[in-house]
Amino acid sequence: MHELSVAHALVETVTSAVAANDGEPGRVREVHLRVGELSGVVPDALFFCYDIATMGTALEGSALVVERVPVAGRCDMCGVDAAVNGAVRFVCPICGGPLGALSGGRELEISHVVLDDAPVAVTS
């Protein structure tokens, strides 16, 4: 259950990134992640921790949106780019050869955030 550590890291990264972007965090409405099947992070556990980790931060009340990224790689034997379903055996679904360097599945990244800007004070 390391997802709480991951959720805290997420809050830290988003808070500093958003602040660095425009100086004013505003309100974070959505946080979009890409989570690879091989990342070792379970989305359900992350959802479970998210509300606790975001409490009292600029991310409080925001929604977490997770895109799962399947394991994919190129077959060393037939050269085919293949996605591995079930992420258990890293072999080519066509010829059964071992998949070499994986091109996907290890992702653990924040792709984007959706912000509600703080209302601009109107001075007359």
Partner: protein, 223 residues
């Protein structure tokens, strides 16, 4: 008004950055560093004890950082080998992070060491995502655990550079199926090196030590 801010940032960026710094420091000091991961009860500590003793007999300077949720029992036990050992008590946390490792290296002269072994908290899931700056990620699997464990925990086995089979002295008694175990390992990590060991009999310890010392100075890609 609503707007979208593209970030494309690693979620564990901070850990990865710290791990990168550790990796650079290890490379500069010329010390080999391994991160040992396994389930609880695989025999990490017994094997580490044997490895530390073997290294000392060969005149090598070795040190170990051992992670556990509570107690310094392992550090006390390993300290008897005469090696420099420190305990990292995680207070319940299920894995080690680069920051924790870095803080426990304070005051150690890395340039005087040949090998540093970081024994992670016993867990096959959580340590996967956390780079500790090691050049060699080692996963241990005992003959009592069930041969299909690699396919049950593919993330960790896939990300490892070396698989160590432990407790081979009792393999026959527990009817360990060597072929099935190797099939499961190869299914998730086709080219990984495998070494069979018995801490009790001293089998494979020299080979294990050689593999640790033969690892490249710095791991090419952070996981």
């Amino acid at each position: 008004m609503t707007r979208i801010v593209e970030l494309r940032r690693g979620l564990l960026e901070k850990n990865d950055e710290l791990a990168g710094k550790l990796r650079a420091a290890y490379g500069e000091a010329g010390v080999h560093v391994a991160n040992w991961v396994s389930a609880p009860g695989t025999g990490k500590t017994a094997l580490l004890e044997a490895l530390l003793r073997c290294a000392r007999n060969r005149g090598l300077a070795v040190a170990a950082l051992v992670g556990d949720c509570a107690t310094d029992n392992d550090a006390q036990r390993l300290g008897r080998s005469g090696a420099a050992v420190r305990q990292i008590v995680t207070d319940g946390m299920c894995h080690l992070e680069a920051d924790l490792v870095g803080r426990h290296l304070d005051g150690w002269d890395l340039t005087a060491l040949d090998l540093l072994v970081v024994e992670n908290v016993g867990n096959l899931v959580c340590p996967t995502a956390f780079d500790l700056g090691e050049e060699l990620r080692v996963v241990l699997l005992s003959v009592t655990e069930g041969e299909d464990k690699p396919v049950k925990y593919p993330q960790l086995f896939h990300s490892s550079d070396l698989v160590v089979i432990t407790k081979t002295d009792i393999a026959q008694a527990v009817e360990w199926d060597r072929a099935a175990a190797y099939d499961a390992i190869r299914a998730v990590n086709p080219d990984v090196e495998v070494v069979e060991t018995s801490a009790r009999k001293g089998t494979g310890i020299n080979a294990l030590l050689n593999l640790h010392l033969a690892a490249p100075a710095a791991h090419p890609v952070p996981r």
